[in-house]
Symmetry: C2
Subunit: 423 residues, 2 copies
């Protein structure tokens, strides 16, 4: 039986933020920027909690971290600190809290509608993986019809470095990028607005405690370095990508913007939704020993919605265009972390890893528009409009939640962005 | 006729740091970390200069920036501020300075030998380009014998994002990385220490003033965003690289370490060494309009030295194994900056761009060991040892300088690292 909160909206069956979730974020309200915890439709202001001694039984470094304006100091403290803070916040928000506590904490709640969310952390480095074999296979077919899945895929958790500076928080508009593109039939490339703008449905993984340069992270301890998860949209200009990506990988096709959801769901909140990694198909190689036996999958439903400008004008709700699940990855979160550090590369608190586009095997679970090119039926919106790629004015909305019989649903909030025309 | 300094060592014909250079760096001395300017074999402590009112005629933001512990605030101020500070520092260190000034400044000099150099800036994002067509062609032959230079090369300044966290300052030891490698004749990859560890001779480009997300940088103004240059060694594990790099580019093959020299040579100091970009060979396409007419080349001699452990034990000086020149790039610094921001990607003060390995057309100008595989004669050290790739205990030393008749030589200092055995 799940604990209830004295914050009424946290007990609503439809909330993303019940007492069992308690994701962390950074918000601005009344001209100050603070760390908060989402509870129902409210934000519990941790800086006020720290300054009013509501966290006084916690170690000083935890209390100090709660007064910062990014989550980096808290992330750096590691799982013991995260658990202790989570326990304390749970006590403060549970209906078992005494009246005096409830009165004090109530004064530290800010309605979400009154707050402006910020990036949760200062992101030092951003790495994007390619952990969905279904995505890699479908996209590989388009770029390399004869050779969709390269020989390294089942051995190497393929990844590349993305751009940290252009990571924006949900709600920020996305300017359509310009770039060099070269249609197959053209002799020369031309520079202009991308005509193949796409989203990529991903989960972001915030690193907590880092590792020193030169010191790998063993697979058994990898999850101890993970603070929590968020939604991530790795916007992609496919026409720019196909022309530029050889031989050093995607660059300007991706680095114009990446959107993340503002709330970081603690790994601890997702514990009930862990499932064993799916057995690899017959004939696939076992992971090499440094990646073996590492980490569970996590069942998180993922949804993509689109609302075109016309839909907005006609008050038509966003339409769901696909649905996937985080569990459908070829590599676990632990394997991604261990592989990343296997050469001694140092991860730092606040670094962001992303899974890569998450797609399932079946039609309707494609994590980006590019993959839907294989489908006989293009994406058709309620207005009759169709979409091969995104049009100006389209808003893309990701949602995610973990659910299980008898447990409250743990949501990620949303990760949205609307396309502005090119300059 | 070049100005002389009252700091005697700055007038030595062999110094890297005459009055005409004045590179910026960050150093630690007597337990405090400060910004300094190299002059001869001394460091002029700019924080002391600021606090003793020697910079009092400069705008407050410039004076404040000189009291920081990274160069980021100064970088962010832009070319007007950089020129003003450079003029003032030149006046203070020139032999025309009055005796009272000389006495004051002399008290703010720290011998280089007593200081520990730090990274000059907090590097938000690190981007590595591939701007040497000679390097791209020689390496392309090894990875793709039939197709060394891909069709996009002469249109797109190819680049990719590197790792900011593992950038270290000259002198830091480099741990040999482990990783997955798969020899051509093997059926499966194996995990272990890289057997093909290489250096890459590059120039780093520190961004000064940034651009807002969504706002490109026109080619005509691109150099206004460049604070200065340093040496950069993009250490590479070739065996890891060849197995992992498809389809998303190099990742663990590179991100275990990148070394930069501690002194950032202002672009203004290099003005006398500008030369027009070499005409593109007959038949090569002109740069697309957004990259056209942009920027000069800069004549900077580049040298690579190796000292093996045995050479060190036998007191044999490091041996020069190659020599190149920054002018031999297919793309100018301005073109790299403009291309990077052409999709609206935001560059920030302190971001680091690198040219990619700088190689010339002729034998002896290869910027990495990988390219020398084409040579009939392998690298042979004075001890009789040969090198296809780096061995444990090898120290790699880069040096760079600009020189011209009648002008003092402007040096970059050195960029060094010694290989430690794998864990």
């Amino acid at each position: 039986m799940a604990l209830k909160s004295w914050v009424a909206s946290a007990n609503d069956a439809k909330t993303d933020f019940p007492l069992a979730n308690l994701p962390y974020g950074v918000f601005t309200h009344a001209h100050t920027t603070r760390i908060g915890v989402a509870i129902g439709d409210q934000i519990f202001d941790l800086r006020s909690a720290a300054s009013e001694s509501l966290l006084a039984d916690l170690p000083d470094d935890v209390v100090d971290a709660c007064t910062a304006t990014t989550l980096n100091p808290l992330m750096a403290l590691g799982p013991g600190a995260w658990s202790a803070l989570r326990r304390r916040v749970t006590e403060l928000l549970a209906e078992s809290a005494d009246a005096e506590t409830q009165r004090k904490v109530a004064a530290m709640l800010v309605p979400m509608g009154d707050a402006e969310m910020q990036l949760p952390a200062q992101i030092g480095d951003y790495t994007d993986f390619y952990a969905s074999i279904h995505h890699a296979t479908r996209v590989g077919k388009l770029f390399r019809p004869d050779n969709p899945l390269l020989p390294n895929y089942k051995y190497v958790p393929i990844g590349y470095h993305g751009r940290a500076s252009s990571i924006v928080v949900s709600g920020a508009d996305i300017r359509r990028p310009s770039g060099q593109t070269k249609p197959a039939q053209a002799n020369e490339p031309a520079f202009g607005p991308s005509r193949s703008l796409d989203y990529e449905l991903e989960i972001g993984i915030f690193i907590g405690q880092g590792n020193a340069l030169g010191e790998p992270i063993a697979i058994g301890g990898a999850e101890q370095h993970v603070f929590g998860l968020c939604l991530l949209n790795d916007w992609s200009a496919r026409d720019v990508q196909s022309w530029e990506y050889q031989p050093l990988g995607p660059f300007l096709a991706k680095n114009f913007a990446t959107t993340i959801s503002p709330w970081v769901v603690p790994l601890e909140a997702l514990a009930p939704y862990r499932v064993p990694m799916q057995a690899r198909p017959e004939g696939d190689p076992a992971p090499l020993p440094y990646l073996a036996g590492g980490g569970d999958a996590i069942e998180v439903s993922l949804e993509v919605y689109i609302q075109s400008r016309r839909m907005g004008e006609e008050k038509i709700e966003p339409m769901r265009v696909s649905r996937g699940n985080l569990r459908d990855l070829y590599w676990s979160v632990a394997q991604l972390v261990t592989h990343h550090a296997s050469n001694g590369c140092n991860l730092r608190a606040g670094d962001l890893l992303a899974t890569g586009t998450i797609s399932g095997p079946e039609q309707g679970s494609e994590g980006c528009l590019l993959e839907m090119k294989h489908r006989s039926d293009p994406v058709k919106l309620p207005t009759g409009e169709t979409r091969t790629f995104l049009e100006d004015g389209d808003e893309v909305i990701f949602r995610a939640f973990a659910e299980k019989d008898g447990l409250p649903r743990i949501g990620f909030g949303s990760c949205t962005g609307k396309i502005l025309p090119a300059i």
